[in-house]
């Protein structure tokens, strides 16, 4: 078993160049990926089902494992260095770990069933919980004093809140001005170095850029979806088809948007846009993923094997 695992990892570590576009004739930038690391395989116990990922400047990779109720730290070669957490609602414990972000010194983790943000140091020691009274759907950290969260506003519109390390709110951005129904405001978000927010709507064909004062700078629809599929479930009418699953920014401020059900390759097609919203390229990942994460060194992290495997890729531009 172990031998097979090693062989699998070796095979996965072989450099892989994936040609990536469905619109080769039109794309203005060719983007390809080169696999440099694969953590977790079907026949090992490194990862059971990862949900959140973050990487620091030293090359350490941190993973929230939903089936293991844990936070894990891997070195740059993919070796498990430390594991923390267990099932529970106490300090440093998890029931349904979800989002993860890191600053220079700390890690920030959320749990679907526990309100607030848990803060750990880089040795995975629990430090504190930042209180917040509503469920969060996205989280990004620019520094320990600038933490941005996307707040689910069910049944009303959601908002982005920027707060400091103690949970004191600095600014709020109401990005969705009207109540179009439950969950229509669900977004993934990214924050650039100038303080602009990029939003990708989960159930609408909308990608937007906003400034911190709450002004929408542009809005794009890439999929040509006019009507949102809805279904009555219980007392609510809920959207059923996912347009965009996640969004991340590379080191030049380009947007990487993971497309959902309407894409040619659902959960694999990644649209690359300029900061001004122009479509540049489409990248097709080898396996389906639920999230995209690009670290400060411009490495791309995605899922494979339904979350059992974490892949790290180098982004190559031509």
């Amino acid at each position: 078993m172990m031998k097979n695992g090693k062989m699998f990892r070796r095979a996965a570590a072989v450099v892989l160049i994936v040609p990536l576009s469905i619109f080769a004739a039109e794309q203005r930038l060719k983007v390809s990926i080169q696999e440099i690391l694969s953590i977790g395989a079907l026949d090992d116990e490194a990862i059971f089902q990862w949900t959140g990922v973050a990487a620091d400047r030293d090359g350490f990779i941190y993973v929230l494992d939903g089936l293991d109720y844990s936070l894990k730290k891997f070195d740059a070669k993919g070796k498990l260095v430390k594991k923390a957490g267990r099932k529970g609602q106490g300090p440093g414990e998890f029931l349904a770990p979800r989002l993860l972000a890191c600053s220079e010194d700390f890690l920030y983790a959320t749990d679907q069933t526990v309100l607030g943000i848990s803060v750990f140091d880089k040795d995975l020691q629990f430090k504190k919980r930042i209180p917040f009274s509503a469920p969060l759907t996205d989280l990004f950290v620019r520094s320990d004093e600038t933490i941005a969260i996307v707040v689910m506003g069910f049944p009303g519109p959601g908002k982005i809140v920027v707060m400091d390390g103690s949970g004191r709110i600095q600014t709020e951005l109401a990005y969705y001005e009207k109540d179009a129904g439950p969950m229509m405001d669900s977004v993934s978000a990214a924050l650039d170095g100038q303080g602009h927010f990029y939003l990708a709507y989960l159930f609408q064909d909308r990608i937007e850029r906003w400034d911190q004062r709450g002004k929408r700078l542009w809005s794009k629809n890439l999929l040509g979806i006019k009507k949102v599929e809805m279904k009555k479930i219980g007392d609510y009418v809920l959207p059923t088809e996912v347009c965009y699953k996640d969004i991340s920014l590379d080191d030049r401020g380009r947007l990487f948007v993971l497309a959902g059900k309407h894409a040619k390759n659902p959960s694999r097609d990644v649209y690359v846009l300029s900061p001004s919203g122009e479509w540049l390229s489409t990248l097709t990942l080898p396996d389906t993923t639920h999230c995209l994460y690009i670290d400060r060194q411009n490495f791309l992290y995605v899922r494979a094997n339904e979350g059992i495997t974490l892949k790290k890729y180098r982004l190559i531009y031509e």
Partner: protein, 72 residues
């Protein structure tokens, strides 16, 4: 290998699904529409109903998670 892979996928997805809505589910339910079925059960669950608004938000959060992470 493929059989083992499929088994692992099914087990992992089933377990994660249980985490989302805190309920038991058979592997046979893992198909298109699983999130709709799960959130319906979640809405109808007496415990979540007893929690009123918070129970509803819990179910809706689970639905969003399911759509993003699990729905094929």
């Amino acid at each position: 290998m493929e059989k083992k892979r499929q088994k692992n996928r099914t087990i992992a997805a089933a377990l994660l699904f249980c985490l989302v809505f805190g309920m038991g589910i058979g592997a046979g339910n893992l198909q298109s529409g699983i999130c709709e079925d799960a959130v319906k059960e979640c809405f109808n669950d007496w415990y979540n109903q007893a929690w009123g608004y918070f129970g509803t938000v819990y179910c809706v959060m689970g639905y969003a998670f399911c759509k993003k992470y699990i729905d094929p």
